[in-house]
Amino acid sequence: MLDKTGIAKRIAKEVQDGYYVNLGIGIPTLVANYVREDIEVEFQSENGVLGMGPFPFEGEEDADVINAGKQTITTLPGASFFDSATSFSMIRGQHVDLTILGAMEVAENGDIANWKIPGRMVKGMGGAMDLVASAENIIVAMMHTNKRGESKLLKKCSLPLTGVGCVKKIVTNLAVLEVTEKGFKLLERAPGVSVEDIQNATEGELIVEGNVPEMII
């Protein structure tokens, strides 16, 4: 079973040379730390920066240089700043190659819910609805079950949707799954996790074909 860092490490393997990547807050943010050093990747943040670097050194923070999580950041050579409309042109126009974000629920048809829990204070969808409606390549990073032990991979989302039929791949603490026309196809098991464990934690249709390999991280 993976921890959050493990999920981030596994997702980092999905990032390919030449990719522009948008990372959501939470586990997705960690992915940047584990991308292979021998490939070129640029990180975009929807508040208006391309070519994000690491956090600034103490004392070098600039209130005018932040990411979408409002964290102070730095930029790398070749970076650029732009307005919000241009930023979403990059996203909506599918110039960003990969979007990695968290979710509360994913349905077997690729629907995603990650912005609202009825009855609770709603903070808003931010850029998530634009991202999931636009990206060709969306990977969800999340725990397989919620705090009450209930599956987050469902036949149908119970929460208000963020987007429909858009998730392509899911990496959880238990498995790597692909969203197919028939349901969640199990691609890899986390170390020490059995197909049965995954089956028990998955409410939606789980497709198991042949021998499912254990992840290599």
Binding site: E46, D64, D83, R92, M121, G124
Partner: protein, 234 residues
């Protein structure tokens, strides 16, 4: 050269009144029109509809207007990090319309550019699209969204000149350029008002035609929301 310069924030906010719709640039607390917000707090105008990506924090940004109960409705994409906001929203004092961030930006840009409406994929199949026209283009579904209509737009730039030309800095740019010219009156505040002719015509982010009033802000606190750093020996 047509001059847009006004001499004070009170001159810049002349004409504001109750129940108006205002736009505010900024993302989180970055690039917000700090001086205009202070003036609005002082003015006591109320019943406002505010279009702004975020709603500030309890004691800064639009949080100051919320605290004085001057805001009737917020149109935003993300409103976390604000207890007073939460209280007013849950008690029903405050009306909130949440819309996708890219749609928010483009509804500003549409107003600036004279487009009444556009089709966007964001929000299709969600409650955001409820009551809106949806339509298929090339096998994909889109939602029809309208241009915003606002009375005043308050933006903040790094440098500007008397002609109203603006240059923004870093990610403090965000929604500010998209809101210029999107309201009936655009009020720009700048950290530094430079002499006309100083800015390279090639490097102006927003031409002065989109700005009605410009002034140099008295001071900028530029508060940081999430100070994330690393140590040099890391």
């Amino acid at each position: 050269m047509i001059s847009k310069k006004v001499n004070s924030v009170s001159e810049a906010t002349e004409g504001i009144g109750d129940d108006m719709t205002f736009m505010f640039g900024g993302f989180g607390l970055s690039g917000i029109p700090e001086n205009a917000i202070s003036a609005l707090v002082k003015s006591g105008v109320k019943g406002l509809t505010c279009i702004s990506n975020n709603a500030g924090v309890d004691d800064f940004g639009l949080g100051l207007l919320l605290h004085q109960r001057q805001i009737k409705k917020m149109i935003s994409s993300y409103v976390g990090e604000n207890d007073e906001f939460e209280r007013q929203m849950l008690s029903g004092e405050l009306d909130v319309e949440l819309i996708p961030q890219g749609t928010l930006a483009e509804r500003c840009r549409a107003a600036q550019a004279g487009f009444p409406a556009f089709y966007t994929p964001a929000g299709y199949g969600t409650e955001v699209a409820e009551g809106k026209e949806t339509r298929e283009f090339d096998g994909k579904m889109y939602v029809l969204e309208n241009a915003f209509k606002a009375d005043y737009g308050f933006v903040k730039a790094w440098k500007g000149d008397e002609a109203g030309n603006l240059i923004f800095k870093g990610t403090a740019r965000n929604f500010n350029p998209n809101m210029c010219g999107a309201a009936k009156i655009t009020v720009a505040e700048v950290e530094e008002l430079v002499p006309v002719g100083t800015l390279d015509p090639n490097q102006i982010h927003i031409p002065g035609i989109f700005v009605q009033r410009i002034f140099q802000g008295e001071k900028y606190e530029k508060r940081i929301e999430q100070r994330t750093v690393r140590t040099k020996n890391e």
